[in-house]
């Protein structure tokens, strides 16, 4: 089992960050994400909370031994469920791998919340664990590779989203003026 966590502040108001959430991909810094589909979405008429379920398709080159043993392909799919609650100004995003799910689980949670009127805190945690009674060394190797991939993608994701938010702000300012 590996744990990962990071936190960061974006120099943008919370509502801008949440609007930007839907515009993150495609992104040259996250070229591994190649498709995004909404499979379910609901707006709660009482609470105003928006729940969205998405499937993201990623292309990630796995080491040959992983592909051989676990029969994976280059295409990896992730299921993402997000909740946007305007009354608490919380946006939470939970992602779990669909592909290789019988072998390993990568469970990630992200939260965006205002830290001031013009700043938004971002916190992210992940639990990555190989499942099944596999050969210990194969399970450890798979887990290590997933962790490395995850850490790298998390760094890229942060940089990529910073760009998106800045560009979006410039775009919106031009429309206003």
């Amino acid at each position: 089992m590996h744990f990962f966590s990071q936190s960061h502040n974006y120099e943008h108001p919370w509502s801008h960050v949440v609007i930007g959430m839907w515009r993150k991909y495609p992104n040259p810094k996250c070229s591994h994400v190649i498709s995004v589909d909404v499979v379910d979405r609901s707006v709660d008429p009482e609470t105003g909370i928006i729940r969205t379920e998405r499937i993201l398709g990623c292309k990630q080159k796995a080491p040959a031994w992983i592909v051989k043993i676990f029969g994976g392909s280059e295409d990896a799919f992730v299921r993402e469920i997000s909740f946007v609650d305007p009354s608490t100004q919380d946006a939470t995003i939970t992602s779990v791998n669909l592909s290789l799910s019988q072998f390993a689980s990568c469970y990630e949670q992200i939260r965006y919340h205002p830290s001031s009127s013009h700043r938004t805190s971002f916190s992210q945690t992940a639990e990555i664990q190989a499942r099944m009674a596999l050969w210990r060394s194969a399970a450890d190797g798979l887990e290590k590779w997933l962790v490395q991939r995850f850490e790298q993608n998390a760094q890229l994701g942060k940089l990529a989203f910073t760009d998106v938010l800045r560009t979006l702000r410039e775009e919106r300012q031009r429309t206003i003026s």
């Binding site: 609007i19 994400v33 589909d37 909404v38 105003g48 799919f77 949670q109």
Partner: protein, 103 residues
């Protein structure tokens, strides 16, 4: 905008995303303001939920049907069903507000 998992669904996806983004950008800030009272919040939420249905309901149905077929073709529908049973995630996670380190 990102592509759909199959090319035939991409135009519908783009149309749906455009519709949702336009609605959402108008929705969010007033929603935060309306949260000042529970009555205002439910009145605003109901009105905006209906509006979303009216504006984007048709394209959503077409897009969703396309994606559901694509998931079946790729053999992902069973996997998705299993994932939903294992982690329904029907409610937002409980958020604990850590004490801030304000000096």
């Amino acid at each position: 905008m990102a592509d759909s998992l199959t090319p035939q669904c991409t135009p519908l996806k783009h149309e749906y995303d455009t519709c949702f983004n336009a609605w959402f950008e108008g929705y969010l800030e007033p929603a935060v303001a309306a949260s000042s009272s529970p009555e205002k919040r439910s009145e605003y939420s109901k009105q905006k939920a209906d509006e979303f249905q009216q504006k984007c309901g048709n394209v959503w149905r077409s897009y969703r049907e396309c994606v559901q077929n694509a998931l079946k073709e790729k053999g992902l529908d069973a996997l998705l069903q299993q994932a939903r049973e294992e982690h329904p995630l029907a409610e937002p996670p409980v958020v604990t507000n850590e004490p801030s380190n304000k000096s």
